[in-house]
Amino acid sequence: MEEHKTAQSFTVPIGPQHPALKEPSHFRITVDGEIVKDAYVRLGYAHRGIEKATESRTWTQNLYMLERICGICSHIHGMTYCLAVERLAQVQVSARAQAIRVLFAELERIHSHMLWFGVTAHEAGFDTLFMYSWRDRETVMDILEELSGNRVNYSANILGGVKFDVDESRVESILDGINFLEERTHYYLEVVSTDALFLQRTHEIGTMNRREAEVLGTVGPTARASGVNRDIRIEAPYAAYDQFPIQITLDDSGDLKARVLVRLRELFESYRVIRQILKNLPSGDLTVRMPRRIQQGETVLRVEAPRGELFYFIRSNGSDTPDRIKVRTPTICNMMSVIKLAVGHQLADVPMILAGIDPCFSCNDRMVMINQSNKTSHRWRWEELRQHGINYYQQRTA
C-alpha cells in the first residue's frame, strides 16, 4: 500500500479504536480535500486464534468456544457447528429441536438488526432513533432471557439437540413482544423513508449496483439491498427452514437507504416465522444421543447469519477432537466493499458506509497470540492470566 503524500492528498488514519462500532479496526483513508481517494483496512485486532484452538479441544468443548466467536450472533455459530457435527456423525435430530433452533436464530436476527439499526442511527447523528431502537430491542432481549436465561450467548444448542424447551406458558408473552416489535418496525420504516435528515445521510450514499455487489463478493442483507437474490435460508434450507420457509427481501437501489430498508423489512419475515413456529411447534424429544468420537469425514455447512452467509468446513479424523474447523464469517466478505465504496465519497460518509454493512470485527478476526504484553515491563502468559482469574474469584468469594 503506497501512501500518497502529494500537495493535494492527505492520509487520515482512523482507529483502531472504534471507527464506527465499538470494535477495533484500523483504516487509512487518503483524502483530497474532503473526497476519499483511497482506503485501506487493517484487521486482526480482535483475532483470538479460535480456529487453531478448536484443534486441541473436544467436540463438546468447541461448541462453547465457537459460540463466543461473536457476541451478537452467538447462536448461529453454535447452531451451524452442531448441524455440521450432527451431519458428520449421521445423527438425526428431532423436528422439535430443529424448530427451536430456528426460533432462536430468528429472535437473534431481530436483536442483531435492531442493534445495528440503533448504531446506524447513532452514526447518522440521529440519537433519538438510536435510543428508541435500543429500548425496543430490550423486548427481544427479554424474550431470549426468558427462554434461555441469558441475554447473549444463550447457549441453546448442544450436540444432538437443544437445551431449552418452549412451553405453552411462555408462548403468549413471546407473541406479545413480537406484536409490539412489529408495530415499532412499521414506525421505523416510516421514519427512515421520510425523515429528511436521515435520508440526506443514506439516500444515494455508498451505492453499489448488482454487478458490483457480486464482483465484490458481498453477502447477506448488504448484497440483497443491491438486488442479489441470495439467502441461504431459501437456497439451501437448513434446520427447520424447509418447514418454515422464508420469503426473500430484496431492494434494487443498492444505496445505504436500501440496506436499512432491507434489514427492517427482513424483520417482518422473522416475526412471521416466529409466530408460525410457536403455532406449529412439532413434538419430539429435545436431544438425541451423540457419540463422543465423530467418525472420519468432511462436511461443509452454510447458513444465513444476521450479517449474511456464514460458512463452516469441518474435518474429523475419527477422534474426539476435530482435525480442522474453518469458519468464514460474513463480515470479511462485506468488508472489502467498504474500501471500494468509500472511494469518491466525502470523508464524513465513511462511518455510515462502514456501518451500512453491519460490520462485526470479532467475527472477522479470530486470532491473536496468547502472549499479552504491555508497555511497561510486565507480560502475561496464558497460565498467568488463568491464575489471575482463579485468584480473583478466590478473593471475591473469600
Binding site: 463478493g217 468432511e298 480442522r324 472489502m336 504484553s373 508497555k375
Partner: protein, 163 residues
C-alpha cells in the same frame, strides 16, 4: 434437489471432460470434489466455472494433513444454491506457491491473504500481499494453522519491550 443435481452434473462434465487429469468425487449428496493435479490447472478451471457462471467463490480452506506427507492442501469452495463444488490442490510444504485468483475473482483477495499468512503458501500476483490478521511483528516463518506450529517456539521470538 433437482437443481443441485443438475448443477453438479454440469460441473462434473466441465471438470472431467475439459480437464482430463482431474479426479471427481461426490463426498456428500450436495457436494462435488475435484482434485487438480497441478496448480497450473487452477486458473483455467476457475475461468471455466466463471464463463458458465457456475457459483461464486465462498471460501478458501487450508488443510494440513501432517508433517509426514510433506504437503499442504488447499480447498476452493464454489457454491451455487445448495451445491458446493470444491477444487482441491496439494501444495508442497516447503516454498509452496499458488497463483492468485484476483484477476478473475477480485473478492478472493482476503481469502488468499489469510491462507498465505496462516499456512505459509505464497500467493503469486496479489495486489496487496501484506498481513491481514497477524500482527506486524509476527515472525516471518511461523504459520499458526500448520500442525507443527509450536507456541513455545513462538515465545522465543518475542522479547520483553519489543511491543
Amino acid at each position: 434437489m433437482n437443481d443441485t443435481e443438475k448443477t453438479l452434473k454440469t460441473a462434473s462434465q466441465l471438470l472431467e471432460q475439459w480437464m482430463w487429469m482431474t479426479e471427481v468425487t461426490r463426498p456428500e449428496p450436495n457436494r462435488l470434489d475435484a482434485r487438480l493435479k497441478t496448480s497450473d490447472d487452477l486458473i483455467p478451471i476457475v475461468a471455466g466455472l466463471r464463463v458458465i457462471r457456475l457459483g461464486y467463490l465462498c471460501a478458501i480452506t487450508g488443510l494440513d494433513p501432517g508433517l509426514e506427507s510433506g504437503e499442504l492442501e488447499v480447498l476452493y469452495h464454489f457454491c451455487v444454491g445448495e451445491a458446493v463444488i470444491t477444487l482441491r490442490l496439494n501444495v508442497p510444504r516447503q516454498d509452496g506457491c499458488l497463483p492468485s485468483l484476483c484477476e478473475i475473482i477480485p473478492s478472493a483477495e482476503v481469502f488468499e491473504r489469510e491462507l498465505q499468512e496462516m499456512f505459509g503458501i505464497r500467493i503469486e500476483g496479489l495486489r496487496n500481499p501484506s498481513r491481514l490478521y497477524l500482527p506486524d511483528d509476527w515472525p516471518e516463518d511461523v504459520f499458526p494453522l500448520r500442525k507443527d506450529f509450536d507456541q513455545d517456539k513462538l515465545r522465543s521470538y518475542v522479547t520483553l519491550g519489543d511491543c
